[in-house]
């Protein structure tokens, strides 16, 4: 395995939620004991339903939100020991909505060179040139340098956001649904651009997505998140071809097909997403699980190693998971 650029050890984040006037606040565990390793050059896709804690996790990895427990390491150094500027040099985000991720009052040039300004770059004379280099790299025409975001199309705006994230050559890029706000015709362009940039600049991606087609196209590894925990993680191909966790199976089964006669796939998940303030006992997935067993309501499953990652489900015993893999 290549070097680890980002590692999260057992990180958690809870928010205190007000229950109303004169009622005690209760904690909401948005992220609950997550372990993640990002190896250099890989694309780790983080998938899961809305509200499962993906964005909170991303914010912690960006250093925007301190974890309430656990530790984070960037490039082998604990994140808590790094300054904001040092974190910014290593990890950068690309947001979902290019309409809100660019300041409407600033020109494209000043948006792209902002990272240089903030880092106190010594050579302001070279900013324009460096901005134009990165614009060329992400496929933006030079003459939009003095334009404002409102004069660009959605796809071009997303290119501006990518240029801003990459101008200081970070090592890790956290993409939060980078294409879901774009036209279908532009989505593939942006995805291909991200793929190409990864190879050219040696980037590592953490890709948050609902869109399993995007994940299949991009990811080398997949982590499935449910209610603040990563319930299954492994090589993309292994997770796609033989999902272990019933939730992963349901997610993969939920992909819509272009053929309307097939109807909406039945995931057996039901509509009810559990209240994260009042987590189910035992395995947090058991109320929706198609393969629920009696002990699931009492006993939380432990992570079981698989051939390329781990799974958290009581269906498997330490050795069984490995056995199924070989069969």
């Amino acid at each position: 395995m290549s070097e680890i650029v980002l590692e999260a050890r057992d990180i958690s984040r809870s928010f205190m939620i007000s229950q109303g006037f004169m009622r005690a606040k209760r904690p909401l565990h948005a992220v609950n004991g997550v372990n993640l390793k990002l190896h250099r050059g890989e694309v780790l896709a983080l998938v899961g339903e809305s509200g499962c804690g993906k964005t909170t996790l991303a914010k912690m990895l960006l250093g925007l939100l301190p974890p309430s427990a656990g530790s984070l390491e960037l490039d082998g150094k604990p994140l808590a020991s790094l300054s904001h500027l040092e974190v910014a040099r290593i990890v950068q985000p690309i947001f979902q909505d290019p309409y809100s991720s660019l300041n409407p009052r600033k020109s494209i040039g000043s948006i792209i060179t902002l990272p240089l300004q903030v880092q106190g770059d010594k050579d302001p004379a070279s900013w324009r040139q460096r901005a134009e280099e990165i614009m060329e790299l992400v496929g933006l025409p030079r003459r939009v340098y003095n334009n404002f975001p409102s004069q660009l199309s959605g796809g071009q705006r997303q290119r501006v956001a990518i240029a801003r994230a990459l101008i200081n050559r970070p090592r890790v890029v956290i993409c939060d649904e980078p294409t879901s706000a774009l036209d279908v015709s532009v989505q593939s362009q942006i995805l291909n651009l991200l793929q190409d940039l990864r190879q050219e600049l040696g980037l590592t991606y953490l890709m948050i997505s609902h869109n399993l087609a995007v994940v299949e196209h991009m990811a080398t590894r997949i982590a499935v998140m449910y209610l603040g925990r990563i319930v299954e993680e492994g090589e993309a191909e292994a997770v796609y071809n033989s999902p272990r966790h019933p939730y992963t199976e349901a997610l993969l089964g939920s992909v819509l097909t272009p053929d309307p006669s097939l109807g909406v796939p039945d995931t057996h998940l039901g509509a009810a997403y559990p209240n994260p303030l009042d987590m189910p006992s035992g395995c947090s997935f058991h109320p929706r699980c198609a393969k629920m067993m009696p002990q699931c309501a009492q006993q939380a499953p432990r992570p079981i190693p698989t051939e390329s990652g781990h799974v958290e489900c009581s269906l498997y015993k330490e050795n069984e998971a490995k056995m199924r893999m070989t069969s």
């Binding site: 950068q92 979902q96 880092q119 004069q151």
Partner: protein, 313 residues
């Protein structure tokens, strides 16, 4: 890590997109802005009237037909020239008041006081209210709680009564009136700036700036402030008009500008006994006050319209 790379990646897609834009490239932002300004009727009318009043105030010593303080009881209550009265004379185009002072000169000098008080009180309240509002909206949590408490405390005080109490305690002068108004009417600044900041703060470009390592100061000044400047301009004009009206009210009650200084509110107060006999004594400063407040509000609305980013293309 790979160094500078010059090969365009995904360049084909980029060039397809950009070639479509070639024809749409617009004229320079400056000329567009000018076009919008001159095409906006409210902005032009408001700006024009305000400019006239502003010139009146600045040029008062030059254009006044007489001395605003010069009393001449033998020539009191001369009606304005359009009056059908043999007393009306071009020597006093707007007539004279109860003490025989030239009314037009008093009107011109009065514009100085209204503009000065309006502008200074707006500046003071703007600084206080914007600071509180932006800090509360940006930091939220405990800061927000404290600011909210201050705002609520301020809102529970009736402005005119507090102003009356303070002015009668400290004594009345232009400076006192400016400070009292400035320290009292920042509430709308704070409330509007707070909610505007909260809205902008939730947008992704603020998160992007944070993950670039920007300091809070830089984020507030260069990411948030430009995006709430529209609302700030509108509130500033509303509050300037508000301060001018409050000053007129205080002067009317005898606690603002002190005689013999010529304030528009004071002119109305001095003439209130004559309302049934020489109504023009009240009408003239009243119309001036109305025109000033209206023009400021028109100007504010117009400025918001022409600078709004949604009008940018």
């Amino acid at each position: 890590m790979t160094d500078v790379i010059k090969t365009p990646v995904g360049g084909q897609a980029g060039s397809i997109l950009s070639s479509g834009l070639d024809g749409v490239l617009e004229p320079s932002p400056g000329s567009l802005l000018r076009k919008r300004i001159f095409g906006h009727a409210g902005l032009m009318i408001g700006g024009g009237v305000l400019l006239i009043i502003f010139l009146m105030a600045i040029l008062a010593p030059v254009i006044s037909p007489g001395d605003p303080y010069d009393q001449d009881l033998s020539r009191k209550l001369i009606p304005p020239v359009w009056h059908e009265s043999e007393k009306a004379t071009w020597e006093h185009p707007l007539g004279t008041d109860l003490l025989g002072r030239d009314y037009m000169s008093r009107l011109f000098y009065g514009a100085r006081i209204s503009l000065l008080i309006g502008f200074a009180a707006m500046l003071i309240s703007g600084v206080i209210g914007t600071t509180l509002g932006v800090l509360a909206g940006y930091f939220g949590g405990k800061v927000d709680m404290v600011v909210n408490f201050i705002i609520t405390t301020r809102l529970s005080m009736p402005v005119v009564l507090v102003a009356l109490a303070v002015v009668s305690l400290v004594g009345s002068s232009l400076t006192v009136v400016i400070w009292v108004l400035g320290l009292l009417i920042w509430d709308r600044f704070a409330v509007v700036m707070r909610s505007a900041t909260q809205q902008v703060r939730g947008l992704d470009f603020v998160a992007a700036a944070q993950s670039l390592g920007c300091s809070n100061r830089r984020i507030i000044l260069s990411e948030i402030m430009p995006n709430i400047a529209n609302q700030l301009i509108v509130i500033a004009t509303i509050e300037m008009a508000h301060a001018i009206l409050l000053e007129a009210a205080l002067s009317f009650l005898g606690l603002g500008v002190q005689p013999p200084d010529p304030g528009w509110g004071l002119m109305i107060a001095e003439a209130k006994g004559m309302i049934f006999f020489d109504a023009w004594l009240i009408t003239i400063p009243g119309v001036a006050l109305f025109a000033l407040v209206l023009s400021i509000n028109l100007l504010g609305d117009g400025m918001r319209d022409v600078t709004a980013p949604e009008n940018r293309n």
